[in-house]
């Protein structure tokens, strides 16, 4: 696969690109800093996470790990299927079991979901970053 690239939509340049070429560590380090900065500023980073029926499948990166240069994507179809499994309930109280309660609590707190995201290596995928959007 070719080197991973991220296109950034830009007012003055049309679009600019940053690349994650493993043979250029300094460039990768700079690219990681740029991606972290974009996430902090509210950019939406759409990365290709695979293919479905021959069509590229994109997801929004929720976070980025600069140490490993990986996008963290939450809510891939596999995750949704697992989350849709029925929960066991205590037959006496009709309340969820303790394990399920803990799981429900975990699901209810959005920050913790980031840890369960799938990691996509930036060096092997393409994406597009879109600046914060205002409704027109």
């Amino acid at each position: 696969m070719s080197t991973g690239q991220l296109g950034i939509l830009n007012v003055g340049a049309g679009d600019t690109k940053i690349s994650f070429d493993p043979s250029k560590p300094a460039e990768v380090e700079r690219a990681c800093a740029v991606v972290m900065d974009m996430i902090r500023r509210g950019y939406a980073i759409m990365v290709q996470v695979g293919e479905r029926d021959g069509k590229p499948l994109y997801m929004r990166a929720e976070s980025f790990d600069p140490a490993t240069a990986e996008y963290i994507v939450v809510g891939l179809p596999e995750t949704n299927v697992a989350a849709a499994e029925p929960k066991l309930r205590n037959p006496e109280t009709n309340e969820p079991d303790d394990d399920d309660k803990a799981q429900e609590a975990e699901e209810a707190s959005p920050p913790k979901r980031k840890g369960r995201g799938r990691r996509i290596a930036a060096r092997s995928t393409h994406g597009v970053a879109v600046a914060p959007i205002s409704g027109g």
Binding site: N10, G12, G14, A44, A131, P132
Partner: protein
């Protein structure tokens, strides 16, 4: 080596020649340079006279950029109008506002009055965009869609794509809101006209701060990557209103 340097030199000369005919090229390039220096990764939107700019509140210098084009709006405020009511006129295809001015009641069409106003304003907004930027955006779009889809866009200014998640079909249009379509009942129904622009847009026009195809790329990628957010962030215009651009 000479054969490698010639095309580059030729491109530079062509670009310089192109920019000689574009009176806004200097300002656009200057804003681009300042944006790079200040690490504004998406650049700086260009304020235009008579076209108020609405900038995303989180974007750097949003207030300063918006205040540069607010002069005409301030003038309007000085005139002592009081809005009494408003209604939709099918004949005029616009919202008519009933206003009280110096004790008299008047009916005036809301701005923009109709498609023509919106179109003329969009032509005005085109001063902000460069041909080079649009060409780069087209190249990017060409890498994101299939050949026949790209051909549809080049020849008609729009293309269709159906979301695997929701089953909704989207009609992405150049300089118009994206139409969300449903064909579940056997005939095509417009669910909404979704209007949004990265960073900023020019009020009462269909133009955003970015060149037209960059707006289309943004809509396409938002739909593909996070359809829920695309709907949430977009203004949903009624298909019958001028803003929907139908």
């Amino acid at each position: 080596m000479a054969s490698q340097s010639h095309p580059s030199l030729g491109a530079d000369v062509s670009l310089a020649l192109l920019e000689r005919f574009d009176q806004f090229a200097g300002l656009r390039n200057a804003l681009s340079t300042i944006g790079e220096q200040r690490q504004h990764l998406a650049g700086i939107p260009m304020p235009l006279q008579d076209l108020p700019l609405t900038v995303h509140p989180r974007y750097p210098m949003a207030d300063a950029l918006m205040s540069m084009s607010k002069q005409s709006a301030a003038d309007d405020d000085e005139q002592d109008f009081k809005i009494r009511n408003q209604f939709w006129s099918t004949w005029m295809r616009t919202t008519v506002v009933v206003v009280e001015h110096k004790g008299k009641i008047k009916c005036v069409p809301a701005h923009p009055a109709n498609h023509v106003d919106q179109l003329i304003n969009t032509i005005g907004a085109s001063d902000a965009w460069g041909i080079q930027q649009e060409q780069r955006a087209l190249q990017l779009l060409g890498t994101l869609v299939k050949h026949h889809t790209f051909k549809h866009y080049l020849l008609t200014g729009c293309f269709l794509e159906t979301s695997d998640r929701s089953g909704v079909t989207y009609l992405f249009r150049k300089l118009r809101p994206t139409l969300a379509l449903s064909g579940r009942t056997g005939r095509i129904r417009i669910l909404a006209a979704l209007c949004s622009h990265p960073i900023a847009y020019y009020q009462n026009s269909w133009g955003g701060a970015m060149c037209p195809t960059d707006d289309v790329v943004a809509h396409l990628m938002m739909m593909r990557g996070d359809e829920h957010m695309f709907w949430k962030r977009s203004n949903q215009h009624e298909p019958s209103t001028p803003q929907a651009g139908i």
